[in-house]
Point group: C2
Chain length 194, copies 2
């Protein structure tokens, strides 16, 4: 059915645009009318193409996470785990990826008490993201056996860093913290390999 295809296309296009908006303006206070107005549509349309706000949010979470992972997988393999962590952090503080991870942090905060669709979306995103992190570490010299542990530590610290980022962006303390994190992840990767 051609119309169904078209419908799907429109829905996908809206999902991309709403995701752009959410990345820009944040997820927490998001409400339909402002985002619709920014896209040149009406809340009516969003609710037509998505079954409700929850559906929209879930789709946005999924879309943003796919972008995160695509960006992560596009990073070149580093020469060591330590370098990989530093490169990842550099990417995580620059435009696109930073916003995606900021969105993830917001979603995680919204899901802290188990509220849907945030909690479920975060759970799904986290799994795919961790898998991509593992691949990055392995590609940078970490053993497959040690990678999950190192990825876990890296992920946890990364999210915490994003929480602190607005407080100390560009400070020496932040950079030192990232360096310490890189050493720590490298140590875990090493230890697990032995």
């Amino acid at each position: 059915m051609k119309t169904a295809a078209k419908d799907g296309e429109r829905r996908a296009q809206l999902a991309e645009e709403v995701t752009d908006y959410a990345l820009e303006h944040g997820l927490i206070g998001l409400s339909l009318r402002p985002v619709a107005a920014a896209l040149g549509t009406s809340d009516r349309m969003l609710l037509y193409h998505f079954s409700g706000k929850d559906d929209l949010i879930a789709t946005v979470l999924h879309t943003a996470n796919e972008r995160s992972i695509a960006h992560l997988r596009s990073l070149p393999a580093a020469s060591s785990v330590r370098e990989a962590v530093l490169a990842l952090w550099a990417a995580s503080t620059e435009g696109r990826l930073e916003r995606c991870q900021r969105l993830y942090v917001e979603a995680a905060a919204l899901g802290l008490l188990g509220r849907e669709p945030y909690a479920g979306g975060v759970r799904a995103s986290n799994q795919a993201w961790l898998a991509a992190l593992v691949d990055l570490l392995v590609a940078s010299g970490c053993s497959r056996a040690a990678a999950p542990r190192a990825a876990n530590l890296l992920d946890v610290a990364l999210m915490g860093l994003h929480l602190d980022l607005p407080l100390e962006r560009g400070t020496a303390a932040l950079e030192r913290c990232v360096a310490d994190l890189a050493d720590a992840v490298a140590a875990v990767a090493d230890q697990g390999s032995r």
Copy 2:
């Protein structure tokens, strides 16, 4: 003036109670009427004793952070940095302190885009919290010189862990991650001391 004292007392009492409510129900969707109803009052009263919702929120943030820090300072000094981290995490997943830190995470997420009073409240809370963390590490054998770096890494990872906590509470991966973190913080403490 006695009345002024009373006023202050009432305000302080309300702050405590609203903080209790926020710790229970979360900070993100917080609105005046439900919390007032839960306290047996009306939104009118909250707005009388506080100059507005922002003032209330700022007070709640401050109150919760004071509780966090008091709890942190009540922890006994551990025999090593590693043990201190493990003990802190144990405390951070139990009742009172866990809720305080969850509230902090929510506030940090709300302040990600610079919105007040969240961003400012988080900034203030973070400073006091870090100072207390430093003291805890020093009391557990860390050198004063190395403590700030170790505390920074610990704090960042701790907040990230809280974001993931609902996803993997009680899993082996989480415990391993905490253990890895403890080693990493100990390593930083060691390295900085030398």
